[in-house]
């Protein structure tokens, strides 16, 4: 392990080998999201993720936000275990009827001011699952939604962009209590 740690210290960061133009964009975007959050909230941004019936594709990409390429935690954006600690709920999936109550209760357990981001095409209106006997609909049909990030699933960069858009809107006083 020591060898691996020393290598990591002495060698250039793992993010370096593929410096695509995206790298710069990611950096800029994540920095902007972080400072906007601090302006509005005076602290870092805590996100609670809720899977309300997704296929798990969106979860995989939300996980990717934490890897060394995107590393959102550098900028004070972090995922928390309880809605009680959250500023933002990121909700994925068409809301299934079997998950509706759990989503409502999670929303009510989140203290204000709070924002809700609906992540993915299904979260907008049920996506390709709309119309099923088992699907209640998009997230906005169950709880108030501040922002929607499209994609199936949205890539991590699109999620960062979404967080920025949300914070801009919040700074204009659009946050719900």
């Amino acid at each position: 392990m020591r060898k691996l740690l020393f290598q990591s210290l002495l060698q250039s960061p793992l993010t370096e080998p593929a410096p695509s133009p995206d790298q710069a964009a990611i950096r800029e975007l994540a920095t902007a999201v972080g400072s906007a959050a601090r302006q509005r909230l005076g602290k870092s941004l805590s996100i609670r993720e809720v899977d309300a019936g997704s296929c798990n594709g969106c979860e995989l990409e939300i996980h990717a936000l934490n890897n060394a390429y995107y590393d959102v935690e550098r900028f004070g954006i972090r995922f928390v275990a309880s809605p009680r600690h959250a500023d933002v709920l990121m909700v994925t999936g068409p809301v299934t009827k079997n998950m509706r109550e759990a989503l409502e209760r999670t929303y009510h357990a989140t203290p204000g001011p709070k924002w809700v981001i609906a992540v993915g095409d299904c979260a907008r209106d049920g996506g390709c699952f709309a119309g099923s006997y088992a699907v209640a609909g998009g997230v906005a049909q169950i709880i108030p939604v501040d922002l929607h990030i499209p994609g199936c699933p949205p890539p991590p960069l699109a999620m960062l962009r979404g967080l920025l858009a949300l914070l801009d809107a919040a700074a204009e006083g659009a946050g719900s209590a």
Binding site: C55, C58, R100, E101, C128, F129
Partner: protein, 503 residues
Amino acid sequence: MLSLIELISEGQRVQQHRPWPRAVVDTAAWIFAVSELARGRWSLLGLWGEAAIVHMAILDESAAGVAVISLECPDGIHPSVGAHHPPAIRLERATADLFGLSAKGAPDNRPWLDHDRWGVCFPLAGRIDVPEEASPYPFLAAIGDGVHQIAVGPVHAGIIEPGHFRFSASGETVVRLEQRLGYTHKGIEGLMRNADLMRAVELAGRVSGDSTVAYAYAFSRAAEAALELAVPARAVWLRALLAELERLANHLGDVGAICNDASFALIHAHCSVLRENVLRAADTAFGHRLMRDLIVPGGVSRDLGREGREAIRTMQNNIRRRFPALVELYDNTASLQDRTVDTGVLTKALAGQYAAGGYIGRASGRSFDARRTLVYPPYDSLRFEVPVLNDGDVNARVWIRVREVEQSLSLIDQILDRLPEGPVRTEPPSRVEAREGMAIVEGFRGDILVWLRLREGRVDRCHLRDPSWFQWPLLEAAIEGNIVADFPLCNKSFNCSYSGHDL
């Protein structure tokens, strides 16, 4: 002793069912099949319903034979399989919820997918409107001095899918774990009905996000079997490339995540980088990080270009350079081994009884791999090993993944070296008459089964069986006697799908 083939020939053979036979059998033959499943001579591959008929897919592992038997039950009652062969219990509960078929003599009659929230009963057959009124779910009891319950979920503490776990614990030790699933039930088999092939394969690719390639692969193969459609050679090979990239990405992610659940974040950080490398290569090569909507009936929707080929080669070299050091670190870190060795042991007997697929079965001495046992092209002309271990603990499930990462790297090289030229898609023909097809494809998690009936170019009925159906119950067994704090570790080493199971 009747063989699977003989059992089929005793029934009424269905003509348009490919590639394996299906027969409508009488009750006596059904009961005989159940007894052979219970004796362990055959394995249960799936059980699903239709209005007034129940189907069961059976595997004879020694002869690599597969067959489907169907029992007509006009009164909606069939002899229970689960009463003698427990792996069928949840499948029968789901079939009862969706089709109103009741399994006579079943040991567990509680609803499974139906949480009284749909506003309908038996949504796929005979649909009855009922009020949405949830009634309490009676969990199984665990009685003893100081036994207490811990309820977890459906909303979990991490970025994971929803499900409920009810632990009964004595101090720190788990006495019983009972799962309650079905929260992500989206009614996919209902949406499949009357869908055209493109809409249906879109849905199939969204059954379980981490297996989007494998599901589209299995659905397309089943549809092509039904239509007797030959796929261009280049598409056959590209499909395997996509499937191995998906396996590689998921296994890398899992190895890291398992170590993370043992609080060893270093391997997790490095594995996440390697996983991201695979997703980026996939994005460059095929235009989508998770490789969604690429496999379609008739071939693949997008060809691989020179740039994509190079991106995959670069990614392969990078993983070959970096992964061995992580494996060595895993093997030589005593504190990590202390958590994974002898934790969450699944016995060989249970893995065999449940016909557990994927790394779960192969870590517990069951050598089944659909790419080998029920070989489909191009795997018949590719060299690869199927790693098998016998310890059945978290450690063994990590090692199977490590070995499979190596195998997938080799398979990807072979495919890129030998990828034939030519078209990548043919248009599926539209057939008026009813035709049935079935496919079993090895996803990263295990064997995915798709059975369907097409009529006039549309899906009449499609059933998709995730490997998790036979893996979730085994997690309940493997956690028994472990401490509560080891549950996340055991759970991650199984990494069953919620959405794939709930449908």
